[in-house]
């Protein structure tokens, strides 16, 4: 691999990130002028820009990035290109945690904007460790069992959410409905600030584990022989993934495919080195979700489509195309 290839990728990714963010800032029912974007005061456009557009674009990028980097990390950890936060049950756990928070800890959610992501994080963490424990045998994660365990945990979290919603009162039901629509609409600065620390912390943690993830992709035994801190890395990667997915799910609902697609796209261009794949997956994931959110706003304007629907509509065929392309490449 020529060393300049990651550099070229990052150049284009940053360019794309800026472009998508810009388009996202310009898209919406209210026309925002250049002057208003550059700090105009008082007018409706300027307020819409400051209070709605900027946090929304940031949030899309943060959540998409979190899903992208977690997908890359989980795929490396489980040595399986099919691992995806939604597929292996992490997102399901996060949803269950968030709904549990809405139903059982309503007053707490009102008191602190961190409460919802913390609930989602705890749910994601529990699901992650459950799935991992089910799929581990003699210290090795059995991939087929892992995917089956993910399906089981997803079904279980779905059922749990169903029970809770069934027993919820009117105001909880309203909160739940808003949450489960899972769109970036109505994102305010408080959501950005509540998820930002989680996403930044886990992103740094995961990127720092890049070298260890490289060793781990040969299996835990080989990684151990190469001096990698296998157990501590496994734990911290799972916790960091749960953190990031929890923070993103808490505000946007379960969004599939980004965690699956983003690392695949990166690997096609740059191979498997996690020191490149992790940060690049963050950027790709961020671009994907922000871009999907733009489409969600213009597809049936002035109404908005939930962004999850857009992601799935584009993501699924795209993923199939990847599979067809990668058939011969062992992906």
């Amino acid at each position: 691999m020529s060393p300049s290839r990651p550099a070229i990728l990052f150049f284009f990714l940053i360019l794309a990130s800026v472009a998508v963010t810009f388009v996202s800032l310009r898209t919406g029912a209210v026309e925002v002028t250049w002057a208003e974007m550059l700090g105009g005061e008082g007018s409706t456009g300027a307020r819409v820009f400051r209070v709605m557009r900027v946090p929304r674009a940031l949030m899309g990028f943060l959540c998409g990035g979190a899903l992208g980097i977690c997908g890359a990390a989980l795929q490396g950890l489980f040595r399986n290109p099919l691992a995806d936060p939604a597929l292996v049950g992490v997102s399901g756990g996060a949803s269950l945690g968030a709904v549990g928070g809405i139903v059982f800890a309503g007053p707490l959610l009102g008191a602190s904007s961190y409460a919802l992501p913390v609930c989602a994080f705890l749910g994601a963490l529990a699901a992650t460790f459950l799935v991992q424990a089910i799929a581990s045998q003699n210290g090795r994660v059995l991939v087929s069992t892992l995917l089956l365990a993910g399906i089981a945990v997803n079904a279980l979290t779905g059922a749990g959410i169903g029970w809770m919603v069934y027993g919820a009162n009117d105001s909880q039901l309203r909160d739940f409905t808003f949450w489960s629509l899972g769109s970036l609409a109505g994102t305010g600065w408080h959501s950005v600030f509540s998820s930002l620390p989680f996403v930044v912390l886990s992103t740094v943690l995961l990127i720092w584990r890049g070298r260890t993830l490289n060793a781990l992709s040969l299996g835990e035994s080989d990684a151990w022989h190469m001096g990698a801190p296998v157990e501590s890395a496994k734990r911290s990667i799972l916790v960091a993934s749960a953190l990031a997915v929890g923070a993103s799910t808490a505000f946007t609902g379960t969004i599939g495919f980004i965690g699956l697609v983003a690392p695949h796209v990166v690997r096609i261009f740059c191979g498997a080195d996690h020191r490149v794949v992790l940060p690049a997956s963050f950027l790709v994931g961020g671009c994907l979700l922000t871009g999907a959110d733009v489409l969600a706003r213009i597809a049936r304007a002035p109404a908005e489509v939930p962004v999850g629907i857009v992601v799935a509509t584009i993501g699924a065929p795209f993923f199939v195309a990847l599979l067809m392309r990668g058939k011969g490449q062992g992906m």
Binding site: G219, H225, M226, G271, G330
Partner: protein
Amino acid sequence: MNTLAAENLSLSRDGRTVVGGLNFSVPPGSLLVVAGPNGAGKSTLLRVLSGELPPSQGRVLFGGRDIASIPHRELARRRVFLAQQSECRLPFLACEMALLGAEAAGHRGRAARERAAAALEMAGVSHLGSRMMSKLSGGEQQRVHWARVLAQLDEQTEDRLVFLDEPVSSLDLAHQHELLARARRLAKAGATVVAVLHDLNLAARYADELLLLNDGGMQSHGAPAQVLEPETISRVFQVSAQVIAHPTDGGPLVVVKDRIPNEPAE
């Protein structure tokens, strides 16, 4: 100079004792080959000797220290392990695989890349460097992993432990001999090499010492010429065999005639 020693070692796998009461030592600078029938516990023994698995009884000493007490990082700098199979489902290139070994040895950046390139050269797979691992044949993959292990071993060979679990299982004849000759040179340079092999003639050709395992424990341990007796071979492997003098070097040459049929039960 540090000696690798097994002290009253017992190993179990899935709760079943496969090897019991093993006592032996491998002096530095020598190559020990472990052979035996399937399921005799060869791979388990290798993983216990390397410190990866704890023995069910007894202990492994390296330079007089219990190997379990050597910090993981220090051990990884002094010990390399070539597994029977290393799966890799992510699209790593062969050169990146070797780079993993160089980085495990503590090299970074340019030094690591040079070290990896040198290791690929040593393993005779430089030409595969830019190929994807999943596109290589089984034998080619095995040689790239050998390069990774060589890169982790570094130039320093004294007081180093090299564990090879069936390192030639998918290699052609030329590469079998090339790999084992390299392993032997590592031993001559001061490393302690322990290799699991199935081919007794390869063992006879390259081993300083041979350890034959059978169900339940050590059958024989010693120089290949001492261990490779026709009776021992038939007892351990259930084949009728003759041992003749190698036409060129005079060492033992095992000629297997056929399998000894199982005793009919009752």
